[in-house]
Symmetry: C3
Subunit: 208 residues, 3 copies
């Protein structure tokens, strides 16, 4: 059992968990894209709703940070972790919104590699949501960031293979450009998940 030198405000952990739970919901909605005949508008709308809900979580976190004298770990790291969880949500919402805005529902199917990239986001979200409750005790976090790194590597691979597919000549130019923008949002979400894990690692290193 770790002995903490400072009495801490534990509300922050609740905000991080709520944000990570929102990411699980977001990844689930993106996962619907692999079902037959997905409803692109509904997917975009529901992602926007969750993104707005998550903005409220982030703002409540920042207000709490402003009014708390002794924080459980460095203020900047709390700020950074909240911002990064928010970034993941923004990029997930961006991917769903662009798919709808660009009219990509007209395609017979999205490339298989895009579903694989989305699937790594689902795993990263579940992993992050499972790790957040362990942040308070700073226990068993090494397994989290090692696995987060592995998932990021798989996501990178899926992204590269997706680009190879997009540039194969199978799609017309404008469709390639549109799918590329969606792919970039998904990849940015995957990157932001890795930055979340890196920030948790930084916190653990400082507090250890």
């Amino acid at each position: 059992m770790r002995f903490r030198l400072r009495p801490t405000e534990t509300a922050f952990y609740g905000f991080f968990s709520q944000a990570a739970d929102n990411l699980v919901k977001g990844a689930d909605i993106l996962g619907e894209l692999s079902l037959s005949d997905p409803d692109f508008q509904s997917i975009s709308d529901r992602l926007q709703d969750i993104e707005h809900a998550n903005d409220d979580v982030t703002h409540a976190l920042l207000r709490k940070l402003n009014s708390t004298f002794v924080t459980p770990f460095d203020r900047e790291d709390i700020y950074r972790l909240g911002s990064l969880l928010d970034d993941v949500m923004d990029h997930m919402e961006g991917a769903g919104n662009l798919l709808y805005l660009y009219g990509l529902s007209q395609l017979p199917a999205l490339p298989r590699e895009m579903h694989e990239l989305i699937s790594t986001l689902g795993r990263a979200a579940a992993l992050t949501a499972a790790a957040m409750p362990r942040l308070q005790a700073l226990q068993d976090l090494e397994a989290y960031w090692i696995e987060a790194n592995e998932i990021e590597n798989e996501g990178d691979h899926a992204y590269r293979m997706l680009l190879v597919r997009l540039f194969s000549g199978e799609y017309d130019t404008l469709t390639v450009m549109k799918l590329k923008e969606v792919a970039d949002e998904l990849e940015a979400a995957a990157d932001a998940f890795e930055h979340v894990a890196n920030t948790v690692e930084t916190i653990a290193v400082k507090e250890s």
Copy 2:
């Protein structure tokens, strides 16, 4: 009235204000693109001049930072704020230079959504320049970062609508690619403005 525990070197505030004033000038020059028959070469040249002038401000700030023992707030935050203001300028200059280098003056007109994105940069620049003088007293800054966030959301929206327009089939492929690069520079400038606001928020959180 806020009581400061440490005597501070106030020169830093002057550098931040100078840099923000340069961003107002830069946004004004980019705004000329919405006039009839804009001079792309002159716009690019004048943006480069301001960017060079701003590099001098940034370097003077860093030299001051190196020679100052007690800083008004954390050294890293002064460094970061200076770097981010410089980033905005770099991306503004980049947008203007690419428009010229790619020969986009040949187009009958730039897309309306690009002017809208540039217009959000103008508002973000004015807002930032008005906030910098309030940094010393750390007063009335919350309104600044809330509005900066709103402008960033409008900029994001304008950027997305610009891409929808570019991918609509109205332009030939190479023109789409060129305009997309310019759009990305403008969007990066908008992002950097938001990061400036976030850094000011971080400073205020730390010092509060």
Copy 3:
């Protein structure tokens, strides 16, 4: 001679030097692309080998950081410097891997401007490797970050000219897109080199 107040663990400097030496090797391998009839698969494979070797260096650095009580400078900066050196390697490997994956060896030649961009990476790598051993004494580092900045400016210029070339109409659309992705990885490597220099500057500012 600089007097250090704290006894320090000097192993970190060795890790930074090893990582920078790997970047020199990586830039040399990318430099083979300017030879006649380069072997794209071998270049990609060897870059992956070095990237894996460099991952081991980065992980050893982080383990050392976890087990060291008194660090020569701020933990976060050690973490950040290690991460950034790793980023450069990742982007170099990415460029080599994409060239191979996209089948770009089929082109009669890569654009001259791409070789110029790669050449700036070679100079940045050599400069960084020469600076790392001076980190311990924190001496003669100003010349390093000034030159790093100049090289970054040349890299930016080479990148812009490369895009002008790619968008000139000389290549078919899919080839433009593929070369653009490679160019972006090279540019990201150049940016990461600049961030390495900025981090060294931050460390020097803090410790001075």
